[in-house]
Symmetry: C2
Amino acid sequence: MNIAIVGIGLIGGSIGIRLKETQFAQKIIGVEKNEANQKKALQLGLVDEILPLEEALKQAKIIILTIPVDAIVKILPGLLDKVTDQVVIDMGSTKTNILRTIADHPKRGRYVAAHPMAGTEYSGPEAAVPGLFKEKVMVYVEAFKSDEDAFELADAVTEQLEMKTSFMNADEHDEHTAYVSHISHLTSFALALTVLEKEKSQGRIFELAGSGFQSTVRLAKSSPEMWTPIFKQNRENVLEVLEEHIKQLQNLYNKLAAEDYEGLHKLIKKSNKIKRIIK
Amino acid sequence: MNIAIVGIGLIGGSIGIRLKETQFAQKIIGVEKNEANQKKALQLGLVDEILPLEEALKQAKIIILTIPVDAIVKILPGLLDKVTDQVVIDMGSTKTNILRTIADHPKRGRYVAAHPMAGTEYSGPEAAVPGLFKEKVMVYVEAFKSDEDAFELADAVTEQLEMKTSFMNADEHDEHTAYVSHISHLTSFALALTVLEKEKSQGRIFELAGSGFQSTVRLAKSSPEMWTPIFKQNRENVLEVLEEHIKQLQNLYNKLAAEDYEGLHKLIKKSNKIKRIIK
């Protein structure tokens, strides 16, 4: 069985290298527009060969989409038009718009919506690592709308990646990811902008940056090409959570401005409840 | 030479255990009000014995203060009153107010203001680890106002902790730490509050929390007893950076609300410049 991966960056490349490692596929076909990335993907052994999408579709049983979410919205309907018994899996970080686009497509059953809750702040083929997905969660969205054999093939890939699974509907998925993934990126981007702004006048500022700063700001290294479309596709949820987050920051600001240290202490103590949830 | 550590938590305990490891001190004396922490400190071997402050002052050559910054402000003048040839080092995270308190003290020379840029989100004696400070930066503030022998003793401790050093004035220190440490904690507290608020109505939200979320929210586990005083002592700088940070978040919000994706992309790309600074 051949597998085609469309978009050989952090996610696509990490899937490719892992599936080669487990010998799950006979051949991994890469579909990649960027010439430099084509070369890197071959050099790093993430894929066996690079082909145009049309050709890859003919040769592969499973087609995995790991391109930015707006590009998925754009190409998915036309791709399904050409599908016979293949399976198309999208690994995008948002789902509502993508699913809406192909809701009534006659080949809807050949498509599986999945979202691996895994990643790093790095991007491109050189960021690919085989163990990226291990013990992370693969979220299936509206899995009941996929043909049984199509879902089973997708789930076989998930198993190769050594992932746990979770099932959700699209609204739920997009709302939850806004809270536990998309907002984290926005706070990091804003934190980086805040500090970079200050650095202009205070050059020595980063001498003091410790591990706390590093961990809160590291996501600000993430790719704008990947993240702008995610915010676009999940705009309403992201605006909601961003509004709430600004409100919480403003609340902390107000307590400090009013010298209400008892109130500030109370808010920090309340935030400590996050201990219940993260290790 | 005996060393007294006042406050046996994450920082004090980590200094104690490291100085015992290197056999730099003959005896490490712990000064600690909390009885449970006294017991833990002794059990964990962070200190050799627990004594009241008065007694510790008589026996020790070096007295290291690792209590919350408002407590440092409170006890430092009275402590210096009783000092003869000992050295008092404070390890607090803010400096302007502390230094103002003892600026004209006749024993000013016996005091060294230092801030180890190291820590974790955990607190208490059980959070202490001997390697906490290794290769981190110890910032000395207004070191030129300390007696030469006093500074040399403090710097010998820094050497035992295997730290690099940096020198600043108090204003500079407090401004910079607001930007690269204090704000990171506030964004984490606010992020935790945002998500915990949502969890009430959407129980499954944390199933999806990946490593990105974990790293941006982990500081929200930090102690309110330690952090409320830091924000209080560094109030003006913290308000300034918090205001700027809210402005940056609002700016991202506005771009997304206006569907200005080019503008959003530009801001994210700009924030990527943080790559120059952090690994």
